[in-house]
Symmetry: C2
Subunit: 116 residues, 2 copies
């Protein structure tokens, strides 16, 4: 039982699509952005993110383009497509339903209440 990992729990795709629904971003930036927003909770690793970006692009949910940074370094920006936006809605709905049901079970946790 060394399962003290990062339970991103299948929500990685959701988070990525969510970030990109606001503005185009590049990979490294998404990591920093999520790190900032969710700090201690978790960090998305490069080895997790890049394959997901590639897969989403293959599905047609994202499109990428190169853009030069002020520093002169090339960055690969991702733009969400219509297909990506509807995928986002779908995943968002799934997430909401799932978490609500888990929360309902949690709410009942604890010793059984004495009927008054």
């Amino acid at each position: 039982m060394k399962g003290e990992k990062n339970p991103l729990a299948g929500s990685t795709t959701l988070l990525v699509l969510s970030l990109l629904s606001r503005s185009d971003m590049y990979g490294y930036q998404m990591i920093a952005e999520l790190e900032a927003r969710m700090d201690r909770t978790f960090t998305m690793k490069e080895g997790t993110l890049y394959p997901i970006l590639h897969a989403l692009e293959n599905q047609g949910a994202l499109k990428s383009y190169q853009k030069e940074a002020p520093s002169g370094k090339l960055r690969k920006y991702y733009h969400i497509t219509k297909k990506g936006l509807s995928l986002l809605e779908e995943k968002k709905e799934e997430w909401t339903v799932f978490t609500q049901k888990v929360n309902a079970v949690l709410a009942e946790a604890g010793p059984a209440p004495e009927p008054a």
Copy 2:
């Protein structure tokens, strides 16, 4: 990309501990109980549950005992220990923090608002 599985998302242990915090239960019953509460969302499979129960018992979070069903069949009931209860609190906190932060990111999803 055939990833349309059951993303229990690492919350299985949390759900099991949560159920057992109310009353002792046996494996098959927990599956039915969760199925009833979360229906379409997902079903916990036996191949997922039993190994988790064994692992939790090895950690000392649960204790099991045999009890005969009215039918005469033997059932293996699980009882949550103090250790299990504190593990539950811990997991619950993690879950809450994590989902809240994801929700915060989701809340900002969508096209960037026009500043008024």
